[in-house]
């Protein structure tokens, strides 16, 4: 409920005191691991484990790519698959024109662990964003992370929605919540400040030195224009490499299931 992860030192002790919920999950994760180590060969257990995680994340990323969430861009960090860098472009609402960097932090037990966390890089005044840590309360949307039914793109979708439709129940930032409820003008002002801040700091070097962290730079026509044009050009299908070596054969005429029904074309 509190959305705090191990990163939040302050809450760390509380976890120890109230271990029930997370422990269940941990137990689940552990038992999963146990099962894995029992079912797969020990060799597999220690050398395939990371692979499975990476494959799972890669599959998640592929799913995300297929969603084409508007205004959300993410890229996994180069050094760890467990961190994805992202940028959120807000196109309307209180945070219109905001460009917010964030990181998605994925638990190591994924997909069996907890819900992935999202941390904003610049301070964002928002009821669901913790004022000190910048963590967005995503978990409220995913009380229990269920593999196969929950996906990382859901998290990003939830994140995006949070900036369009403001929630104030059980806020991470009570001040923002109250202000939103009681003094909408003030809230709008504060939100606009955030937007301005985010844009002002857009060109700053990213917080992380990971090669994949997202860097903004000024538009320089000589550098970017050709690329832009290329992106605007529709891609021709023929550009895929083909040829006898890479091409398979098919002589099945569409509309039939008869082999060799296609006229022989030479």
């Amino acid at each position: 409920m509190d959305g705090a992860g191990p990163a939040l030192v302050r809450r760390g002790s509380m976890r120890k005191l109230l271990p029930s919920v997370p422990d269940q999950q941990q137990q689940l994760a552990m038992s999963n691991q146990l099962i894995d180590s029992r079912t797969s060969s020990p060799r597999g257990a220690h050398c395939y484990g990371p692979f499975f995680l990476e494959y799972a994340l890669l599959a998640e990323y592929n799913l995300l790519q297929r969603q084409r969430l508007p205004g959300v861009y993410t890229v996994p960090a180069a050094r760890t698959p467990l961190v994805w860098f992202g940028v959120l472009f807000i196109r309307q609402g209180y945070y219109q024109e905001g460009v917010f960097r964030f990181s998605v932090i994925i638990p190591e037990q994924f997909p069996d662990g907890d819900c992935p966390r999202v941390v904003m890089e610049t301070p964002v005044f928002h009821p669901l964003v913790h004022p000190e840590t910048g963590e967005v309360d995503i978990r409220r949307g995913f009380q229990r992370w269920k593999r196969n039914s929950h996906h990382i793109w859901h998290v990003l979708l939830y994140l995006r929605k949070a900036f369009y439709k403001i929630e104030t129940v059980q806020p991470s930032n009570p001040e923002a919540a109250v202000m939103f409820e009681k003094a909408r003008d003030m809230f709008a002002l504060r939100a606009a400040e955030c937007v301005k801040l985010s844009r002002d700091r857009l060109m700053d070097p990213p917080a992380s030195d990971d090669p994949h962290s997202i860097v903004f730079s000024q538009f320089r026509p000589e550098v970017h224009e050709p690329v832009r044009q290329a992106m605007l050009q529709p891609k021709k299908e023929e550009d895929l490499p083909s040829g006898p070596a890479s091409a398979g054969y098919s002589w099945v005429q569409p509309g039939t299931l008869d082999i060799f029904s296609k006229p022989e074309s030479l």
Binding site: Y48, N62, D239
Partner: protein, 1152 residues
């Protein structure tokens, strides 16, 4: 100038050519050259004139002088030609031509008697060099062209090899010149008044050398390629090639000729293979021609290659009676597929496999059945199938696999939407890895880094392979994802099929009709099939021309002995068939043909009618056809088909069959024989099976129809059943104790295949042979003896025998339709006395309890397995081909039991199946612990290759463990699970199991050293025509194990043989080695991941390197351990494939 005149004596003239090749220095004044020219010509001309009248004999000396002078002239002109690149002849060339030097020389040469050939030869050289120097620039000059053509014509009949060489060189230069200036081509085309081209000297001459050996042949072929390239843009030339040249015929018949010269046994490793080289070279030449020539030419050439080589030579070769010959032919066919890459040629080869019917059975069905055959045959076959799968050909996959999955009948209804699901979290991979045998669990490969590296390698290779496969199949017609086409669509399209194919659905005829139709032959592709058949039949042997009319006409035209071709039984199956049918009696066949062909739809919709009427008729005609076949001694093929189909009508009274099944069986066999309709029969069967109320009449009549067959071949039927029973016995033991099973199978097997025994183990054959004819108890005894023998006996044979036996196990792949190896057994059986039939069946029944025991005993087998096994017993022989063969795998004891599904057949949802191919693979995999190492490796690589295909229907079936199949359908995971279980059981009691596994690992790891192979792993996805001639032993693309590995492979085969035998170290190799060398198929192994050193060598365990092993494990234990370790590695590979599938995406292409 004088110095030039001091030329060497005549004998030296060849050297002179080099010495004088560029005698004129650049700075030499042209005037001096002209002067020199005149002088030389004057002297030469004087000499020549002296003998114009021919009265005085020319002396060597004079010839010599003239030649020397002309050589100087030639040198001068060449020099000039090389100096100036202009199109107009220079002064010297002008002189050369205006003095009509070539013409006069040619004229003079005919006066020179014995020196004429010499002069012609030198003249050829002159022309060649002029052409080389000047390109085509001189060709436009009549003064050069006319003597040149005249000379060419004259040389045509020259016997001297040297002259041939010269001639070909000139021709090659000519072709090069023509290619540079295509406009000149017209000069060499003899145009008729009507505008058609009737002659082309250059081309016709070259064709004569196309099969020549050495440089001459190579040069000629190269020149011909230039010509065919020219033909691409020159319709007249193309027309000439097609209509007036025998080029295509020469190529096609050449292939046949070269093929028949190939060694009949797979060659030994260090053998030089000139025949193979020649054959491959010729095939690749065809390939190159096809790639360059005019579509008109390629159409004709392809058709000729298909009919003249593939169908008439390759087809029968694949169906020979001797298992060894079949193995060899299979290997050669694989070599063919690997050697070509022209789509048309690939198509022709694939068409032979998928469409061509030999004795009414599609070749591919036969191949699929051979997966269950003897080890050697199965290895060769699997290797071929692997190559086939590597083509990424939709038609292949459709026929082998996808057609059977399209109806989604193998899935529980609720699961159908899950086919496309992505396995996000590696469940498939985890499941696969969980199936690693327990004995491998304490990972002996202690070094985690090495393990990780190996795993990474696995993953990388899987990714490459998947990417390539995905790309290659991206333009397939359908997605095969359960909705494109949907099961309903698939059914609709399948239903429509017979009519869409038109009336060509007659067995055997279909192929032909299609072929004719494709090439536009007038053989009435549109005629009703019935008419066609009856015409062909009615005419008897004379009727064949109706079928082949077009082609034969062509052949006659070109002087090929058409009669001979038609007459030869080998020449063409269709001819074969029709003539056989003709003998059989026109009336019957006519009826049959008409009946079947005229109303396929009514047949389909009205099973009753067909069952009662057409069925019996077809039956009788069929039977008589068969008897004919038997009666014909010179037939190259043994009565395999008949036997197979005879096995169909299964009188086994206690089987839990619905009547429909019994009914279906004989019908299918009929359909599969020769006259039945290809597609209609099976479909109809399907219909019947689901309409129990229709059954009774159908059954009756079909029984009637089948009865004939039975009476004809009662002995076989019995034999078949005996085998089944022995199989059942084996099966019962099977679940209880693996090792015993293996022995039991061996023994039982040994009993089943007398002919093989005869062939190979004369010693053993005596006692064993008899068992075939004996009753069930005898089977038992033979089983006993088998157990005893199996250890001592020649491993290879026992193995193959065991294969045979297990083939007949009910649990094993579908009943034999025409499985070559079993054939032998059946052969023997057929000679059996039919009187013992009743006897035997009674005894069989007594054996039946064994089967039941097995059911109850087997802990690891679920109902489905059991059902499957029983289904297996009644499984009908393969259905007519073009359609998919029977897939009786899953038959539920409940109502519509086993029914046939075939391509053309009604795919009615009721019959869960995954198709015979997958079934055969899984069943063979089920026997992994008794397979040879080599066989296991191939089997695994074939399944891996299938797993590379991204088509969801296939991928989900193979790799998604959560997909729920129909109970009767066994998935790969289930099969692996039961395999693991059996391995675990077998290794549980072994003493020092970890030690045994360590031994197995080191054994497998030792292979690379033995093999000395280090082929770079590249997913062998593309046909590599590059695989040069002689690459026979190493045809696997990308993974070619070099020639060096062949001995190792042979060694592996010994192991293979031994391994099913127990792999015992103390196994005597004396004598065996040599024999294996001779008979082993030179199949290279194709593990996709061969880059991992430890697995690459696929089959290789060098016996010697292993040496005397620790003696405390017996043979079967070692075999199991090897299988376990192999399985462990393969599972890692499959897991990698599964993981890669989960993250595979259509490639995003960024342009920047």
């Amino acid at each position: 100038m004088s110095s030039w005149l001091q030329k060497a004596p005549f004998g030296d003239s060849i050297l002179a050519r080099f010495r004088t090749s560029l005698p004129v220095k650049d700075e030499v004044d042209i005037d001096v050259c002209v002067e020199s020219f005149h002088s030389h010509w004057e002297q030469a001309w004087t000499k020549m004139q002296a003998h114009q009248d021919g009265t005085v004999a020319v002396t060597m000396d004079e010839v010599n002088t003239v030649l020397n002078h002309t050589d100087q002239l030639r040198a001068l002109v060449c020099w000039e030609l090389e100096q100036q690149q202009g199109s107009l002849p220079g002064r010297l060339a002008d002189l050369f031509l205006s003095n009509r030097v070539p013409e006069r020389l040619l004229a003079w040469s005919s006066c020179c008697g014995q020196f004429e050939p010499l002069l012609q030869s030198e003249l050829l050289r002159v022309f060649e060099q002029l052409l080389r120097a000047g390109g085509g620039s001189l060709l436009e000059q009549r003064a050069l062209l006319r003597p040149l053509t005249a000379l060419l014509v004259r040389c045509r009949s020259a016997p001297a090899a040297e002259q041939h060489r010269r001639l070909v060189l000139v021709l090659a230069q000519l072709c090069a010149a023509l290619q540079a200036r295509p406009a000149l081509l017209d000069l060499f085309l003899g145009v008729e008044p009507d505008g058609s081209v009737s002659s082309c000297v250059v081309f016709s001459l070259l064709v004569e050398f196309v099969h020549s050996a050495g440089v001459v042949g190579a040069t000629a072929r190269e020149a011909l390629l230039r010509c065919t390239r020219l033909s691409a843009d020159s319709r007249p030339l193309a027309e000439f090639i097609v209509h007036h040249s025998d080029f295509c015929e020469v190529l096609a018949t050449g292939l046949s000729g070269l093929y028949s010269a190939l060694p009949r046994t797979p060659p030994a490793e260090d053998e030089d293979l000139p025949e193979v080289d020649a054959f491959v070279c010729s095939l690749q030449f065809c390939n190159s021609v096809l790639q360059t020539c005019h579509p008109m030419v390629s159409a004709v050439l392809l058709e000729l290659v298909y009919q003249g080589f593939l169908v008439s030579v390759m087809g029968p070769a694949l169906h020979q009676s001797s298992s060894e010959a079949v193995v060899t032919a299979t290997t050669y066919l694989e070599l063919c597929i690997r050697s070509v890459d022209h789509p048309g040629l690939v198509r022709a080869l694939v068409r032979l496999l998928l469409r061509h019917r030999h004795d009414g059975v599609a070749v591919i069905d036969t191949l699929v059945q051979r997966i269950a055959a003897t080890q050697r045959l199965a290895v060769a076959t699997l290797s071929l199938l692997h190559t086939l799968l590597n083509l990424n050909c939709e038609d292949v996959l459709l026929e082998l696999v996808l057609r059977h999955l399209l109806p989604c009948s193998h899935l529980m209804a609720s699961q159908r939407s899950r086919v496309t699901e992505t396995d996000l979290y590696g469940a498939g991979a985890r499941r696969l890895l969980s199936l690693v045998p327990a004995c491998c669990q304490p990972a002996a490969a202690a070094d985690p880094r090495a393990a990780a590296a190996a795993w990474l390698q696995c993953v990388r290779e899987a990714r490459l392979a998947l990417t390539a496969c995905r790309l290659a199949t991206s333009r397939w017609t359908y997605a095969y994802d359960g909705s494109d086409p949907s099961p309903a669509e698939a059914e609709r399209m399948t239903r429509r099929r017979p009519s869409s194919v038109g009336s060509l659905s007659l067995l055997g005829m279909e192929e032909r009709g299609e072929a004719d139709g494709e090439t536009g032959g007038e053989a009435a592709a549109t005629a009703a099939a019935g008419t066609r058949l009856s015409a062909a039949v009615g005419g008897g042997p004379g009727g064949s021309p109706v079928v082949h009319g077009w082609r034969l006409g062509r052949l006659q035209e070109t002087g090929t002995a058409a009669g001979e071709r038609t007459g030869s039984p080998q020449s063409d199956t269709a001819a074969d068939e029709s003539s056989t049918a003709a003998k059989d009696g026109e009336q019957t066949s006519n009826d049959d043909g008409k009946d079947v062909s005229s109303n396929p739809d009514s047949l389909q919709s009205n099973p009753d009618g067909l069952g009662s009427d057409g069925g019996s008729e077809a039956g009788s005609s069929d039977a008589s056809v068969k008897s004919q076949v038997w009666a014909t001694p010179p037939r190259p093929r043994p009565p395999r088909r008949p036997t197979a189909s005879a096995a169909g009508p299964d009188p086994y009274p206690e089987l839990d069959l619905s009547e429909g099944d019994v009914w279906a069986t004989p019908r299918t066999s009929l359909g599969a024989s020769r006259v039945g309709p290809a597609d209609d029969t099976p479909r109809q069967l399907g219909v019947l099976a689901i309409l129990p109320d229709e059954e009774s009449s159908g059954t009756e009549s079909s029984r009637g129809g089948g009865g004939e067959t039975v009476s004809l071949s009662g002995a076989e039927v019995i034999g078949e059943e005996v085998r089944r029973d022995s199989g059942a016995v084996t099966g019962s033991i099977d679940s209880a104790e693996e090792a015993v099973v293996a022995l039991g199978e061996d023994g039982g097997l040994a009993g089943t295949d007398p002919s093989l025994v005869e062939d190979h183990i004369p010693a053993a054959s005596g006692p064993v042979e008899g068992s075939q004819g004996q009753s069930a108890p005898d089977v038992n005894s033979s089983l006993q003896s088998g157990i005893e023998e199996s250890d001592a006996d020649d491993g290879s044979h026992v193995v193959s025998l065991s294969d045979l036996i297990s083939t007949h196990c009910p649990s094993d792949s579908e009943d034999d339709g025409d499985r070559p190896a079993p054939v032998n057994a059946q052969d023997a059986t057929s000679s059996e006395n039919a009187t013992t039939a009743a006897d035997r069946s009674a005894q069989e029944r007594s054996l039946k309890p064994a089967k039941d025991t097995k059911e109850t005993v087997s802990p690891c087998r679920d109902l489905s397995t059991f059902v499957e096994r029983h289904g297996g017993t009644v499984r009908a022989p393969p259905p007519p081909p073009g359609s998919a063969p029977v897939s009786g795998s899953g038959s539920v004891p409940q109502p519509p039991l086993l029914s046939e599904r075939s391509a053309g057949a009604d795919t009615t949802t009721a019959v869960p199946t995954i198709g015979p191919f997958l079934l055969a693979l899984l069943e063979r995999l089920d026997r992994a612990t008794t397979n040879s190492l080599q066989l296991n490796l191939l089997l695994m690589s074939v399944i891996s290759r299938l797993a590379h295909y991204p088509q969801p229907l296939l991928r989900s079936l193979l790799l998604n463990p959560t997909l729920v199949c129909q109970p009767s359908v066994r998935s790969l995971i289930q099969t692996l699970g039961s395999l693991k279980h059996r391995i675990d059981l077998a290794t549980r009691s072994v003493q020092d199991a970890p030690g045994l596994v360590r031994w197995a690992r080191s054994r497998l790891e030792a292979r690379p050293a033995a093999a000395g192979v280090a082929a770079p792993a590249s997913p062998g996805l593309s046909p590599s025509p590059a695989s040069g001639p002689g690459s026979l032993p190493s045809p696997v693309q990308g993974l070619t194990s070099g020639p060096a590995s062949l001995p190792a492979q042979l060694g592996g085969a010994q192991t293979a043989a031994a391994s099913s035998e127990g792999d015992s170290g103390g196994f005597s190799l004396t004598g065996l080695a040599g024999r294996l060398r001779r008979v082993l198929p030179a199949v290279s192994l194709t593990m996709e991941n061969s880059d991992q050193p430890r697995r690459r060598p696929a089959d290789i365990i060098s016996r010697t390197s292993v040496g005397p092993d620790r003696p405390e494990w017996d043979a079967s234990e070692r075999r199991v351990a090897l299988t376990a370790v192999l399985l462990e590695q393969w599972l890692a590979e499959l897991a990698a494939v599964a993981l890669e599938h989960s993250v595979a995406t259509d490639r995003l292409v960024f342009a920047f």
